[in-house]
């Protein structure tokens, strides 16, 4: 529509439009992440409401530490993937995303392991909130992995163009969000 | 709503026009809605009509009774005196204990309570009946009363044989089941069965049924 009505340079107008579009997407993404952070706040609150500082002793510190390190590395590769895509380097994006997918997948699997093999006391007065909290992170992680995998397939099939670039960036940023929230949960569950 | 009015304004540039049959759309959606409505409101009536079509069926051998919240499947049975039977009771509720008492002759009421609380039937069907417990799973307790009970599974802590604990009733935990083998005693007539746990709420909410015992 802009091209039809514009009298001035079509180039600058579409530049403005795309910048507005970019800003729109980024802000919407920020609102989305704000909304998605509500569950984490809630779970942390629920823990203190229900069980105070109590954490069952069986959380495995080694597994937790290893998976956190893996996820933090995958955060770095996700940021690197964003850098690649901003330079228009589709292949680089795919390579970095592969690494992210691998590390993130292993990290999420280890979280799932913690979840699965943890002794569960169905009569606990503390509600076993930590299990649901880790589970929240696993589900968000699985969604993040799915989004990353979709981005990887997309870049393989249709490549990077300026108007598609943001989609790739945001799928990586979503993974970054997942990892950051996990780090917060790690500190909350394992260290505090 | 006003879909028809606007069809002319829709000018797309697709080369392919999507077409789907109005008839299959209407039939499909309305049949799904009708099926849901029937499932919600009329399933029991339709089931009754079907069982009426099949005529009077006398149960014999293995008969399964499922307990749900708060009803029995089936909620009416026909037995014949002298038939050997295995009554398999299975509690399908995810949350509730259920029992199955069989009796008639009105209810015994709780005198200590100021409401109409019925606790069991006046006459116990199982009085003097030899019963064999074939198998059990997650039985909370089984009050034997005056029945003559033989248990093939090692009698666990769930068997209550002391007198004064009420009528014969197996109380099953959620997911539990029990198999009772017996020969229908010579007590023809209409008998009722029901679940009286949680102070009669289950019975009041529809957890009851009838057995018509035909003479031999």
């Amino acid at each position: 529509m802009a091209a039809r009505t514009a009298m001035g340079s079509a180039q600058t107008r579409s530049d403005v439009e795309s910048r507005i579009e970019q800003r729109k997407m980024r802000s919407a993404f920020a609102i989305f992440l704000f909304s998605m952070s509500v569950p984490y706040f809630m779970m942390i609150n629920v823990r203190y409401i229900m069980s105070g500082g109590f954490i069952p002793p069986a959380l495995d510190q080694t597994t937790g530490a290893i998976q956190t390190v893996l996820l933090v590395i995958s955060l770095l590769t996700a940021v690197a993937a964003v850098r690649r895509v901003q330079q228009g380097d589709g292949r680089g994006y795919k390579r970095m995303t592969d690494v992210t997918l691998f590390l993130g997948g292993v990290g999420t699997l280890m979280q799932g392991y913690e979840l699965w093999y943890h002794p569960l006391n169905p009569m606990s007065h503390y509600g076993e909130t930590f299990l649901a909290t880790v589970g929240l992170s696993v589900v968000m992680g699985l969604v993040g992995l799915l989004v990353l995998a979709a981005g990887r397939e997309r870049v393989k099939r249709i490549g990077v163009t300026p108007e598609r670039q943001l989609g790739y960036e945001l799928s990586s940023w979503y993974w970054v969000f997942t990892v950051i929230t996990w780090v917060a949960l790690y500190v909350e569950l394992y260290l505090l | 709503m006003d879909g028809e009015d606007r069809s002319k304004e829709t000018v797309g540039s697709d080369a392919v026009e999507v077409d789907w049959s109005r008839r299959s759309f209407l039939i499909g959606t309305s049949s799904v809605l009708a099926a849901s409505a029937i499932a919600l409101f009329e399933s029991s009536n339709i089931a009754k009509a079907f069982s009426a079509l099949n005529g009077l069926q006398v149960d014999s051998g293995l008969t399964k009774v499922y307990q749900q919240d708060y009803y029995y499947i089936p909620n009416q049975m026909t037995w014949r005196v002298g038939t050997p039977m295995t009554l398999h009771i299975h509690n399908l509720s995810p949350t509730h204990f259920h029992e199955m008492q069989i009796g008639r002759g009105g209810f015994q009421r709780d005198p200590n309570y100021y409401t109409d609380l019925r606790i069991q039937f006046n006459e116990d069907f199982w009085d003097g009946v030899p019963v064999t417990i074939k198998e059990e799973h997650a039985v909370d307790n089984l009050v034997t009363n005056k029945a003559i009970v033989t248990s093939i599974p090692k009698p666990g802590p769930w068997l209550i044989t002391a007198p004064g604990n009420g009528n014969f009733s197996p109380t099953l935990r959620p997911g539990g089941s029990i198999s009772l083998t017996f020969t229908v005693p010579n007590k023809p007539g209409i008998w009722e069965y029901g679940c009286f746990v949680q102070g009669f709420i289950h019975y009041a909410d529809g957890m009851k049924g009838t057995i018509n015992i035909l003479p031999a």
Partner: protein, 623 residues
């Protein structure tokens, strides 16, 4: 559709015969449910005796069914495959068919939301009628069992709250009107809304079919630990509400972004329409509180399927109550804030006078939004110490002040105006009257002493029906009559409209004002039987309730008839200045042929009468 120009040889249309998307969605949902349910029930988590339905199996089966429904309705070709970079041609349906398919047009989506909401409204209304029939006698006579009555109450409340209250004015009218009001041709994320709208029928069906899994006795609040003792039906309550709230959450993300970034040139914050302000306030509430209640419900589901001891008797049932009302009170404002905004939208047009104290109206909306997070515990005074009650009592009474701003704005606008008494303005006035009663009794109930006396009586029932039906449903009807010429280019019959308004008003006020008295005389909520001395008043209330139900049906038929074959009217019959009326009625596929530029206020009706028909302020400007 191929475009055949006059004079061309008729082009042979390539028709592609496909299965109707709704049928395909239902089919895939059925297959998804059966496959996953059997997989879980028989292979992954078999339970003793191999029951067909277990708690985990039905939850996973439901998830698969919902996914199948969304993919089948068009999500596969339009959302899932493109996100993996696979492009599929999926031409949009045309004509009436587009309303039953995946569509990215915000007007189609708005109508889809409205139709789903209306369906939910009448289903839940039917449930209410059944309840009123039962309450005409003081003993169990209509429902065989008490559990069925309580379950009907629960279905009524759940569907009314989550598929009508939060949806009709936000997902329905918001999707239709907000992009047009801010001069845009589409919402920010049309594909998201195109999919989210189909979660509403899925959610409604889930809640309605919950009795198939067993009855649940908690009402729309799902109180613990009662819910943990309920049969499986409660699972479909959690899951249905999950679907409905997800839909509302997606709408809110979409509309917030739309208002922030799709505004026409010159549409500054000072000029933003009141309805857009209302939707913005509501969306913020939704964005914060809907994820909260969703997680609460997921925890409650986990409580049953894992099982985790969160809200069970050994856990902390009161935590559930806190978490529920933490969302539950903002929910009330999610319902009623857009209604306030619609009052302020309709009244200046009818009064031919600038909106009085516009900025105070906006401040009112924002403060209602912010205070709504501080009042939740007034639902739980029976569980609290007096010292804990006082702050909540204070905030609850305070929230009536920003609410009063909405009244001030509307009454100030009406003051010495050239007021036109039309059906929409009649409905708005009725809505204001009824919400006033609901609000005043709310101030009573905020007082702990009275609250503890009237807890769980019909006084409370009357109070919240006066706020929600009085505030929201009457406004919804006003909006339907007001924007009816926009939707269809046709006008309602004003005699029938007035009749419908008075009919509904008499039925509503008759039924619910008597409930105040009945509550004071000791009628309890949630119970189908009551002491005999209350029977007379119950019969009168039931008769008024049936009048009310028929009145809603009358208005539905009238509106549907007017859309189909009412009298044709000019494009802007109310001479409104807001942007949505500056397009053709009904609007074309693209609402605005050229992007409009806003140069003045939408609510400035001080000009001469002649200039109303010509959109001097906003309007298309050639560049």
């Amino acid at each position: 559709m191929s475009v055949a120009r006059i004079g061309d040889a008729p082009l042979p249309l390539r028709k592609k015969q496909i299965m109707p998307p709704v049928i395909r969605g239902l089919l895939w949902a059925g297959i998804g449910f059966l496959v996953v349910n059997c997989l879980v029930a028989y292979l992954l988590d078999p339970q003793y005796g191999d029951p067909f339905i277990t708690q985990p199996s039905v939850v996973f089966g439901w998830i698969a069914a919902t996914a199948g429904w969304l993919l089948g309705i068009g999500g596969l070709e339009n959302v899932l495959l493109p996100s993996f970079g696979i492009t599929v041609t999926y031409p949009e349906a045309t004509g009436w068919r587009r309303y039953f398919a995946y569509s990215t047009n915000h007007k189609v989506i708005g109508i889809q939301y409205l139709v789903s909401s209306t369906g939910g409204f009448f289903i839940a209304g039917l449930a209410a009628m059944l309840m009123r029939i039962q309450l005409m006698g003081d003993h169990m006579w209509f429902f065989p069992y008490a559990g069925q009555y309580i379950e009907t109450v629960g279905i009524h409340g759940t569907i009314m709250m989550f598929s009508v209250g939060t949806v009709a004015l936000v997902g329905g009218l918001g999707n239709y009107l907000i992009p047009m009001m801010i001069g845009s041709n589409s919402s920010a994320f049309p594909r998201m809304s195109a999919l989210s709208v189909w979660l509403v029928p899925a959610g409604i069906m889930t809640v309605i079919l919950s009795p198939l899994l067993g009855e649940w006795t908690t009402g729309w609040r799902g109180y613990e630990p009662l819910a943990q003792n309920d049969p499986n039906g409660i699972l479909f309550y959690y899951l249905g509400v999950l679907a409905l709230t997800l839909s509302s959450l997606m709408v809110s993300l979409n509309l917030t972004t739309t208002i922030l970034f799709k505004r026409a040139k010159g549409l500054t914050w000072n000029r933003l329409p009141m309805y857009a302000w209302g939707i913005l306030a509501v969306s913020l509430l939704n964005i914060i509180w809907l994820p909260e209640i969703e997680i609460t419900f997921i925890l409650a589901v986990l409580d049953r399927v894992v099982p985790l001891p969160f809200f069970t008797a050994v856990g902390s049932p009161i935590t559930y109550l806190e978490l529920f009302w933490l969302f539950g009170h903002p929910e009330v404002y999610i319902i009623v804030v857009p209604a306030f905004a619609i009052w302020m939208e309709i009244m200046p047009v009818m009064a031919r006078k600038p909106l009085f104290a516009r900025e105070w109206g906006i401040i009112g909306l924002i403060f209602v939004m912010m205070l709504s997070g501080f009042v939740w515990a007034h639902h739980m005074f029976t569980n609290m110490r007096l010292t804990e009650m006082l702050p909540f009592s204070f905030f609850t009474e305070m929230i009536s002040i920003p609410t009063g701003f909405a009244y001030m704005v509307v009454i100030g606008t009406l003051w010495r105006s050239r007021f036109r008494m039309t059906v929409p303005s009649l409905f708005v006035l009725m809505s204001m009257f009824n919400f006033l009663i609901g609000g005043m009794t709310g101030v009573f109930l905020a007082d702990p002493v009275i609250n503890l006396q009237l807890h769980d009586t019909f006084f409370v029932v009357a109070h919240f029906h006066f706020t929600i039906i009085g505030g929201m449903v009457f406004t919804w009807l006003a909006a339907m009559y007001y924007w009816l010429p926009k939707f269809s280019g046709r006008m309602y019959n004003s005699k029938m409209g007035v009749l419908g308004a008075i009919w509904v008003f008499i039925g509503f006020d008759g039924a619910f004002s008597l409930m105040f008295i009945q509550g004071l005389r000791g009628m309890n909520r949630w119970v189908p039987v009551y002491p005999p001395y209350l029977q007379g008043i119950n019969i009168v209330i039931s008769i008024f309730a049936f009048i009310l139900g028929l009145g809603f049906l009358f208005n539905l038929i009238h509106i549907a008839w007017a859309m189909k074959s009412g009298k044709k009217v000019q494009e802007n019959p109310w001479q409104s200045k807001t942007l949505e009326w500056q397009t053709t009625s009904p609007p074309a596929e693209e609402s605005f042929a050229a992007a409009p530029v806003v140069t003045g206020s939408f609510y400035d009706y001080e000009d001469d009468d002649e200039s109303f028909s010509i959109p001097t302020t906003p309007g298309p400007v050639s560049m």
